[in-house]
Subunit: 195 residues, 2 copies
Amino acid sequence: MKYLDEINALIESLSKYQGVGPKTAERLAINTVTKWNNEEIDNFINALVDIKKLKRCKYCGNITKDDVCEICNSRSNKKIMVIEDVKDLFAIEKCEAYDGVYHILDGVINYQAGITPLDLNLEPLFSRAKEADEIIIATNPSIEGEITAQYIKEMLKDEKCNVTRIAYGLPVGGNLEYADSKTLEKALEGRRNIK
Amino acid sequence: MKYLDEINALIESLSKYQGVGPKTAERLAINTVTKWNNEEIDNFINALVDIKKLKRCKYCGNITKDDVCEICNSRSNKKIMVIEDVKDLFAIEKCEAYDGVYHILDGVINYQAGITPLDLNLEPLFSRAKEADEIIIATNPSIEGEITAQYIKEMLKDEKCNVTRIAYGLPVGGNLEYADSKTLEKALEGRRNIK
């Protein structure tokens, strides 16, 4: 007795999510069959169809309907904040203490997990940096975040722009997206040059 | 700055899953946009479209393509095993020590969580019990599982069928679907009448 192919296909799709193991995917798939009505499944399908229409901003990597995102379209690109993830952009925007543009890396350098600088959205940053006055590195205060910050600082050492690091107002080992707005604001105010 | 409507729609669908909170749903939705290619999203959509074709067996509640599932179609209904969840059916089948049919409750009685006997797939069991020789109650060895077992025993007290409980070979507080086949087999062998 095995699961029907239909269920296995759904388990396979769900286990593609980072952090969703096979047992969880199984639970979610069975949950879809036993607890969701057709309208709910249709809404889910439509949401996925619509998601396919979204793009990444060609400058910063933000999620957008057009080629260039709202933020890159409306703000000066003299100040660029480098972040790990799209979710971090929303966390920073929420604290209303930043008026520059962003650059989303889509990860951090993690040699142990096989993530090298080549796997990150770094190339476009180096060309954008030529026009910028300041690059604020706001990767998470983790070992990987620090390594990535140092790497970027090193790569930008010949550029005239100032390279700063968001201040440690965040608890070390914590996660940027869960910080409250006040802490994020303090961390932003206290940014410093990388020595 | 807020998430695009497309992302919010996906977050809403994902948070319908039991055990997926708003933060996790947000992470999964962003993950879909930033890490999945169109083919992967299409596979996911197709899996959901196919899932809608599946039905619940009109006798036992198993997942099936037809009105009656393979197991109900091919086995005697003299022995009925009552289980909480579809996943438990696959766990029991895997140990190859049971040749009767199943009855899936789709949950357990949990008054604290607002789940009463009326919310479970119980009515059809009581009519099926009239034809049966034995009802084996294999709800999980948890407080809620025990309460549900007692409730069913009580409701069936006027029927001539024997009502048994799967043996405690399982660690108390544990979860049926994670048990190994040998333990499940032992538990099945040691089933006893409810006093």
